[in-house]
């Protein structure tokens, strides 16, 4: 099970997967040039949604098609500092696909 964390620090926004920086995967799907953000609905949260889904599923098509719903349901609801597991992403996909 992977663990994803995010924090707003004095040196910038930090998002990690199991302690390593999470790539934004903008080379596969670019919603913004501004990197990640969360706590609202918009392009930066959607880039984060895509990156989280892609990292979890390794499926660009699924990550792309689910990124808006995942952004609205999960990423827009992430607080200043947050913690997600691959289990909760899996649960989202189960609910979204049912």
């Amino acid at each position: 099970m992977k663990t994803y964390t995010g924090d707003r620090t004095i040196d910038g926004v930090k998002v990690h997967v199991d302690g390593r920086p999470l790539p934004d995967k903008a080379d596969i799907q670019r919603y913004t040039d501004m990197g990640f953000e969360w706590g609202y609905e918009g392009q930066e949260p959607r880039q984060l949604a895509f990156a989280l889904l892609f990292d979890h599923t390794d499926n660009a098509g699924l990550a792309r098609s689910s990124s808006e719903a995942f952004m609205r349901a999960m990423v827009a609801n992430l607080s200043n500092e947050w913690h997600l597991t691959s289990e909760s992403i899996e649960e989202f996909l189960r609910i979204a696909c049912s």
């Binding site: 706590g39 349901a73 609801n77 607080s79 200043n80 909760s88 649960e91 609910i95």
Partner: protein, 266 residues
């Protein structure tokens, strides 16, 4: 230097310590305050010195300037201070605000400890120059089309509104006392702004600082009441909205609601 009695989290305490460590050693809050105050007073003195035989219509520049400033402040706060933008100047605003001001001050601890913390409270001293330059075009245009007095009063209103903002915002980060608790507008701003610093709300709610006018008008307030209720709400929590989105450290997919139409994603 840190507040002796505070319920701030360890994370906020660590952040404040790190921020202070990085602030230049020569920084002096009182000097910062004096520069803002003196430049603002001098500017307003110059603008009002040019007034000659003011007509009634010229005075309309004051409410117009004040409301324009409130709208500009609201938009700047909503669209750039809480959203990363490509322009280096706008991105600097986002970093300074979301990644610094909102980490330094949270709903758990809104107070600064001493004048060196004013670095993260006031806008930089050059803001007055930027504001003056931005005010020139509309004021010059109004001065040519309507009257020179209207133009000078518009400049006065915009500069005065910025100084009003700095005073109100400063009052939001001082310790609670009889004066700020009972002064209309100031007490409203303190509660409004503290709710904005709630890290579960800060990206979307209570974006007006000087006044809550545009939060009321555009639906981003945490209150469910009318215009005058918003302006004179004070510390009351009686009219808080019940259906606001509150972010969470670990949102659960089964517990979150997908709002209908609050996205700007395409």
């Amino acid at each position: 230097m840190e507040l002796q009695h505070s319920c701030m989290s360890d994370r906020q305490r660590r952040y404040r310590k790190e921020y202070r460590y990085r602030v230049a050693g020569w920084y002096h809050g009182w000097l910062h305050l004096m520069i803002i105050a003196m430049s603002g007073i001098a500017a307003i003195y110059i603008y009002t010195s040019n007034l000659v035989s003011v007509q009634w219509r010229d005075w309309l520049a004051l409410p117009l300037g004040f409301l324009s400033y409130q709208l500009a402040e609201y938009l700047l706060h909503t669209q750039t201070m809480h959203r990363p933008r490509k322009s280096p100047m706008l991105r600097a605003l986002y970093i300074r605000h979301t990644l610094m001001h909102h980490q330094f001050f949270t709903e758990q601890e809104m107070r600064f400890a001493d004048h060196r913390d004013w670095r993260v409270t006031f806008f930089p001293p050059f803001t007055m120059i930027v504001l003056t330059l931005l005010s020139l075009a509309p004021s010059l245009t109004a001065g040519l089309i309507i009257s020179p007095n209207f133009g000078w009063l518009l400049m006065t209103a915009l500069t005065g509104s910025y100084m009003f903002y700095e005073v109100v915002h400063f009052c939001c980060h001082v310790d609670d006392n009889w004066l700020v608790r009972n002064l209309p507008i100031i007490n409203t701003a303190r509660r409004h702004h503290q709710a904005h610093h709630d890290q579960a709300l800060m990206m979307e709610v209570n974006m007006g600082i000087g006044t809550p006018i545009f939060d009321w008008l555009l639906g981003t307030s945490d209150l469910d009441r009318g215009f005058f209720g918003h302006l004179f709400n004070g510390y009351s929590s009686k009219y808080l909205k019940k259906n606001l989105r509150r972010t969470s450290r670990t949102p659960k997919p089964g517990n979150v609601k997908i709002p209908e139409s609050r996205t700007d994603a395409h």
